[in-house]
Amino acid sequence: MERTLILKKLTEIAKDVFDNDTVELTEATTAADVAEWDSLTHLSFINDIEDEFEVKLTLAEITGSRNVGELIDALISHM
């Protein structure tokens, strides 16, 4: 799947999980850029991503991805 499509899907998931329709993700977006994205909501975000793309990320990927771009890299590696 193309990165732009993945990014679009991640943005939709983020809007739902963070309950904020104004969230727009780019590959450079980090948790610090989104007010609702913290350690408590991070795993909800990851769980929904895994369900959507039918992959299972490792803990190293979940805690080690520094921005959305690296998260996309991790997703692609499992597809």
């Binding site: 913290d38 408590l40 795993l43 909800s44 803990l59 190293a60 805690t63």
Partner: protein, 508 residues
């Protein structure tokens, strides 16, 4: 030997001398030898425990790393479990055996003589550090350290032994095993950071503690506002004490070019309890997040809870419930990390409760934006101040539980705070003020305490508003810097005589 002692000054001076002249490839060995000497200054017996922890971690990490084949997953996991159990087992036995056995004996109506335990220096800190290292090797995020002596340095690195911070191997190892030579600006800044931490400890913390002990030790005589001031004073004391020690640890380490992680980000400016724990004891809360909170929620049980709720149409509950359960487990563990006392368990659950409220609010309550920009800005500032004050009061109430020797003491203090008829007692306030004035050492020391505390608050306010106080000071003229640093050094040398030897978090 603690950081605020002349013995440590002599120790550090000798280390700086040797470090400055030794060959680059031997610098890490010098740090190891001095770390072991520092450890031994607290007693020989504790060394056996840290050596065992390091050895078991070393062997298990190699056992994990040497089994890369997919068919060897079970044996990798076995090495991980053995390593974690041997690390945690020692900590659990030394810290909790008497508490658990004593409690069980009381329940059964039997007598119990507590065992006399040797609790090694920094055991809660280095144990967690080594467990984190082992888990990172297992996850494949780091390569294991195949040199046992280097791993021993990571475990015993002396700046971290008193109060942490809890470092991650990946962050400190490159600099730890190749520490830098002497560079004027870096070394100067490191010593300034050390001096600032020392100032916080001996000018603020040690003096404020006198007031804390006065209130907590005699709470039965006070009510209302006075008890509350005890909680507030404890908030100032523990922040100055703990962050002061961390500043000294980071300053000493920065001298060698080894940057230890920050542990505080002006915590009393937090707008919520969640925000507070992103600013307070950062390395402990991030450790629990990465090595307990996230792994818990990735287990099958938690996933099943989430999926069942989602299938039954409760999408938001599917997110909230597993998070709440994991949060309560983490906070119970955080409380226990601090010690074997029911007060710490209750303190942990106290924060678990507030974190749960935050999770439920985030999940189920949607904030409506204000109608126009001016109203939004004005309302935001007022709301921000209210939230900051509310969070600070919640934290102070938590400190009353944290610092009480028993739940009976804590509940007595809470009962006295909420005695409405005697909330403000002018005569008692004057009496306490007068007693504190005498206990702290009368006019000079009282003035030092007040001015130092105000300086600490002002610096934190400026930093929170984006002013880099250190950089501002660097830009002043040489005379100003010379006068200021001379006055600070003289004040610190003068106050050193009165400094207590302990840091609040050493007992954990």
């Amino acid at each position: 030997m603690v950081f605020n002692s002349f013995a440590f000054f002599a120790f550090f001076a000798i280390l700086m001398l040797i470090y400055g002249f030794v060959r680059a490839e031997w610098r890490w060995i010098v740090l190891l030898l001095f770390s072991l000497a520092f450890f031994l200054s607290f007693g020989v017996k504790g060394l056996a425990f840290v050596l065992f922890t390091t050895a078991s971690t070393y062997l298990c990490s190699l056992g994990i790393a040497n089994r890369n084949d997919a068919s060897q997953t079970r044996s990798r996991r076995l090495f991980l479990v053995i390593g974690l159990l041997s690390n945690f087992g020692i900590l659990a036995f030394l810290k909790y055996f008497n508490f658990v056995a004593g409690g069980a004996a009381a329940l059964l109506g039997k007598g119990f003589t507590p065992l006399r335990m040797i609790v090694p220096l920094g055991i809660s800190f280095y144990t967690f550090q080594m467990m984190g290292y082992l888990i990172d090797v297992y996850r494949g995020t780091i390569e294991p350290q195949r040199n046992f002596i280097k791993l021993l340095l990571f475990a015993t690195y002396f700046p971290q032994m008193l109060d942490g911070p809890i470092s991650r191997y990946a962050d400190v190892a490159p600099a730890l095993f190749a520490p830098k030579g002497i560079e004027y600006e870096r070394c100067r800044n490191a010593l300034v950071l050390f001096a600032w931490g020392l100032f916080k400890k001996i000018c603020v913390a040690d003096n404020i503690k006198v007031y804390v002990d006065l209130i907590f030790g005699n709470y039965q005589e006070y009510a209302g506002l006075l008890i509350l001031t005890g909680g507030i004073a404890y908030a100032i004391y523990i922040y100055a004490d703990f962050s002061g020690c961390i500043d000294m640890a980071r300053g000493v380490s920065a001298y060698f070019g080894i940057m230890l992680p920050k542990n505080f980000e002006r915590p009393y400016f937090a707008l919520s309890v969640e925000d507070f724990w992103r600013r307070w004891h950062i390395t402990l809360s991030s450790w629990f997040r990465d090595y307990l909170f996230y792994p818990l929620q990735r287990t099958a049980w938690f996933k099943v809870i989430g999926r069942r709720l989602k299938k039954s149409g409760h999408k938001k509950a599917a997110r909230a419930v597993p998070t709440v359960i994991a949060t309560m487990i983490v906070w119970l563990t955080t409380g226990l990390w601090h010690g074997a006392n029911t007060t710490f368990i209750v303190w942990g659950l106290y924060y678990g409760f507030f974190m749960t409220l935050g999770i439920l609010k985030t999940t189920f309550y949607k904030k409506k934006p204000a109608a126009n920009r001016e109203v939004r800005h004005g309302r935001e500032t007022a709301v921000k101040l209210l939230r900051m004050t509310g969070t600070f009061l919640i934290v102070c109430m938590g400190y009353i539980i944290f610092n009480s020797p028993s739940l009976a003491n804590a509940s007595g203090m809470f009962r006295n705070i909420f005695t409405v008829t005697h909330f403000i007692q002018p005569a008692k306030i004057f009496q306490v003020g007068n007693t504190y004035f005498k206990l702290v050492g009368r006019t000079f020391y009282f003035t030092v305490t007040v001015l130092s505390t105000l300086l600490l608050i002002v610096c934190d306010v400026l930093e929170e508003c984006g002013v880099r106080v250190g950089e501002w000071l660097q830009k002043r003229n040489i005379v100003f810097k010379y006068v200021l640093s001379s006055a600070l050094i003289l004040l610190l040398l003068f106050m050193m005589n009165r400094s207590t030897g302990d840091f609040s978090y050493m007992k954990f």
